[in-house]
Symmetry: C2
Subunit: 263 residues, 2 copies
């Protein structure tokens, strides 16, 4: 069972997958999504790149370039872009192309608002229903967060998001997992855009408190903590944004009018 296509095609694109086909090992299904098809691979790669700001918000995503980059055709890139558009990480403008989503502050607030509701559902479902091994996993994760807090900024942000994903996965509710995944992705993007440095680090202790409340089975407290945790994260980011970025935000329309930019 080979994966590379037989050489009939004159075009030999560099196929990154051709370098050894590791048989999919048995993996922890709760933690690992899955490699899946090429489309999903590209989708996932783009998602990561967007979240990590390797691709700036508003950046154009030409199908050709993406296809070449990932060693696939435009078709795959196109499909991945379409799905990311459904997720809200990409803006798809007809006959104009795909762009990295460039959420405004208002959209950011909207997303955080939805996230608060979703994660309250998460805590409501988990409180008092976590198995021992899950509690262990959560506490270990929190320790990992603490260990990189203040050391590795990027990793800290990534783990902070991952913590919420971990909680969501523990509900076993597939839809909830999907939605939380989406909002966490988008919130990461927003925090990267508007948040100040260290705004994510502050969450470690709050995460610990949430874990404790969940362990006690105190659903109202857990939900309350989660809500305030998210509210404060959003609040700090937005406040900071107001001081640091809002000027640019306010000026954008004028600049656009001057330059004749049509957005």
């Amino acid at each position: 069972m080979k994966h590379a296509q037989s050489g009939a095609t004159s075009r030999s694109v560099n196929d990154p997958t051709a370098k050894g086909k590791g048989p999919p090992a048995i993996e922890d299904i709760t933690v690992k999504p899955m490699p899946a098809s090429r489309t999903e691979a590209v989708q996932e790669a783009l998602r990561q790149a967007i979240i990590e700001q390797k691709l700036r918000p508003g950046a154009k995503l030409p199908e050709d370039a993406l296809g070449e980059t990932f060693g696939t055709s435009r078709t795959i890139a196109r499909e991945a872009l379409g799905r990311l558009a459904v997720e809200g990480l990409v803006d798809l403008k007809p006959n104009k192309g795909a762009f990295v989503a460039n959420p405004t502050l208002e959209e950011g607030r909207d997303i955080f608002m939805v996230r608060r509701g979703l994660e309250q559902t998460v805590t409501g479902l988990l409180a008092g229903r976590l198995r021992a091994d899950q509690m262990t996993q959560l506490k270990a994760f929190n320790e990992k967060e603490r260990s990189v807090s203040g050391v590795d900024e990027k990793e800290s942000i990534r783990l902070a998001g991952e913590f919420h994903l971990l909680l969501a996965r523990m509900t076993g509710n597939q839809l909830l997992i999907r939605y939380v995944t989406e909002v966490v992705s988008r919130c990461s993007l927003i925090l990267a855009m508007y948040g100040r440095p260290h705004s994510a680090d502050c969450g470690v202790d709050e995460h610990a408190e949430i874990i404790a409340a969940l362990e006690r089975g105190d659903a109202p407290k857990a939900s309350h903590l989660m809500d305030h945790h998210l509210e404060s994260v959003a609040g700090r980011a937005m406040l900071e944004a107001r001081a640091e970025h809002d000027i640019r935000e306010l000026l954008a329309p004028y600049a656009a009018r001057i330059k004749g930019m049509t957005e």
Copy 2:
């Protein structure tokens, strides 16, 4: 089975008149039914068909057949299916094809659980913040619901879903609108699968109560009413399902094992 005899009429690949900038083909404008792109048109059409149970859950959706049906190529059908898969209305199985989502009772419960959280967010955002014209619109809608209640079953179900969408739209929160749209779609599918007749009709009065609470600005009450409204709708449907469908549900794994089906 013949091979795709491409749509033939609607669009001719060889269009000699396209040369020059003469009078734009009139038929082009009239024939062109596309509100947006073709993909989205197909996506929307399929979504409607699935929700209205024109396509049974579990039904296969071959790309060729869809393309032929809609007068497009497989590419469009394929992309639409991919996006619907992201929305959860379609199951995409690698190398096997696309199928109409066939949610189990557990998935149904999961979806309703998420929906409850989302719609509580909606009520929380709307309570006491609705303009007069919006209140008028809501009350008029409720009256419309009442007028068809017990008369037109299908329409009644459709309007019941539409009411929740209307509320979500009034928040102005785009993400919330999208999520509520999705869960309402999927809940419609689930109710159509597992719900008993008339299960949706009962909602008219509850809708009225919610409207009243929103008008008074009583957020907790509105959220509470909404939550119980959805819980009861789900509960009735699931209860009925338990009596009517669960046997099949329980037997499925065994049947699968016998036949060697792996899903």
